[in-house]
Symmetry: none
Subunit: 212 residues, 4 copies
Amino acid sequence: MPRPVTIQDSAILEAARRVFLVRGYSASTAEIARRAGVSEGSLFKRFRTKTELFLAAMQVQSREQEQRGLLLAAIGQKPIRTTLEGYGRHLLRHLQIVMPRILMVTSSGLRFARHYRPTDCPPPLQHVALLTQYLRAEIRHGRLRLANPEMHADIFVGALSHCAFCETVLGRRATSHVDYVRTLVDGILRAGQPPDTRRTRLPRTKTGEAPK
Amino acid sequence: MPRPVTIQDSAILEAARRVFLVRGYSASTAEIARRAGVSEGSLFKRFRTKTELFLAAMQVQSREQEQRGLLLAAIGQKPIRTTLEGYGRHLLRHLQIVMPRILMVTSSGLRFARHYRPTDCPPPLQHVALLTQYLRAEIRHGRLRLANPEMHADIFVGALSHCAFCETVLGRRATSHVDYVRTLVDGILRAGQPPDTRRTRLPRTKTGEAPK
Amino acid sequence: MPRPVTIQDSAILEAARRVFLVRGYSASTAEIARRAGVSEGSLFKRFRTKTELFLAAMQVQSREQEQRGLLLAAIGQKPIRTTLEGYGRHLLRHLQIVMPRILMVTSSGLRFARHYRPTDCPPPLQHVALLTQYLRAEIRHGRLRLANPEMHADIFVGALSHCAFCETVLGRRATSHVDYVRTLVDGILRAGQPPDTRRTRLPRTKTGEAPK
Amino acid sequence: MPRPVTIQDSAILEAARRVFLVRGYSASTAEIARRAGVSEGSLFKRFRTKTELFLAAMQVQSREQEQRGLLLAAIGQKPIRTTLEGYGRHLLRHLQIVMPRILMVTSSGLRFARHYRPTDCPPPLQHVALLTQYLRAEIRHGRLRLANPEMHADIFVGALSHCAFCETVLGRRATSHVDYVRTLVDGILRAGQPPDTRRTRLPRTKTGEAPK
DNA sequence: GATGAATGAGCCTTCATTCAT
DNA sequence: AATGAATGAAGGCTCATTCAT
């Protein structure tokens, strides 16, 4: 009757995460073991190699499927603004967690591709794809008018991603996330209107004309 | 009278850059020396420390001041669309170079703060500040109408930054940069129109209303 | 439950001593590890630094307190000659061990002061102090007559120290230690007699007179 | 017509000496060159190897022959006390210079023997030999009575050597050199008197009897 | 003759990994 | 299962020495 396992993988992974995110991939396994309150031997019983541990620690276990369900369920039902703002705020929180880890993996010298199954679409693009799917559906329902939904999805995700990126690289910043997301949603809702209409409101001769 | 210098710092830095950007900060100085066709000893004659070499290699020598001049000179003169698209394309090219290096430095485990003067505005925010300055000026000239120029500048820079970020993390991608920038510029030019006005043009019953 | 310790610090120290005493401080840790039959890694698990190892190896664990007790217990009891000769022989043996190490540490380039507490009396002077204390006590007991006990103690220790020094620098030598010590003791015992008295016993016209 | 030599060996040697005596044999040739105000190239033009430079710097160019002449000339002429004190003071000054170098060479890992021509008698012993020769001569002249002149010479040189040794190892010290030498000379002059004579002055039963 | 740029061997030290208990 | 002692393969860095000018 073997002795039961007393060391939780989660404890190791959390310690590894804390250490790797501060010291980079070059952090030593010794420090991680110490932080996890575990012997180095145990570490390597669970993760055969440092790289394996690193990738596991940087892996994100998220409830993305759930959010995906919520977004798709809102199609044609809930107000677009409300839906997009809710999704945007969720996505930003998610990216705040994911971003430092992506940075770490990318710059570890390990190829990013190996981190995710090669068949999967890589995470940032997944969000763009999902949002595009939503926007297209709303367009089909006639609730939204957009010439290029994929581009807009990309800009929307991109801005949030950039926000998370800056916070990761520079530390906290002052901008209100709620306002930030709202402005992004405004951009999408406004895009339905043809720019020509608006242009009449500004001095015709000087501004905003497309280059010939 | 001593033997003339035959090893250029630039050659070392270029080799270091190539190696570091692929293998990360953990890349060995031996490999860098080999790539530069130089002895390890010479490496350390020029850069006393691996860290020093790393930071020097990741440093960006850019002609940002020049672009800054171009942008500010266009105020009230050149068409806004042309100016913004030109600036956007330039910024994207710049970010493609800068992004991988920022990533590397951030996640090297070296403390970022030590290597940039804390009084300086950090690079990504500099671009936002410059663009905001431009947008405000055009608004003052009555050539543009924007409720929140800073936010828009942030979204503009953010989207480009994200674009560069994705390319860095995932590798090349297909999207046309020209189109991408144009869509972003559209967003800014369109933003002058109040969303309320537009909303009346879409079927009332389906869009943007508060959830029942 | 972990693997039991199989490498004794003493084994490492002994090997280090052998190597350092022959090759000097510049001896390589690799050679020491080889001599100790141990991996270099293990070396640095025990001694964090080459310097630390060096100083530990040069440290002397001696039973000086014991000898101190013996000497002081003899005051007023055992014959002075016997006591001094015994102490002298012991001191010489001790110095033969200490001398090469002092030499090594002194000229290693490491600053001596950092490794001995500045409040402590440095080792060679400790012996002088102890012997002086003994001589003074015997003088107080009326068993010895000496104008300058400290000077005599210094000469006594000095001669033995020099003996050990020569052996260290030149290698073994022939002189009988027993005779050497006896002569030194003679010097102290004889010193009680004023030189003037003695001088009369030698042919007046030839010795020690001031030059005409 | 070759360009004349502008760098003096003596300047290099002096710099080397200063550096080696402080930093030990591990001192770098770069530092020595810098201290000497000379390029590393020039250093190695003069001394083919670091070891060669080291040994040359530690070599002593002294006027020992001169002192030898003075001492031997005094035989049977000048008062013994005056002669011995003069010689002692000279020897001490000499040893203060020689001692640190002997320490350095001994602990450099280079074999001491190689430093001096193997046919020569090593320096400390040379002094003992010379002094012995002098004492024997004075004994033959009937100006001195000593059972064991070699032993006394050895003690005399040894005490001075020890004095220099302590100063080298510990730094300056307070003892008056003049007094120190005088006491040593006293020891030799006194030794002529048989210890038995003196013993009568002390309580017979307790002190100083030779062990049976 | 003098210089200092260039080198490569080797040093101290770290660290991922294994292994005996 | 869990420990931590032990290891050996690098890694960063230094330095004596050479060489083109």
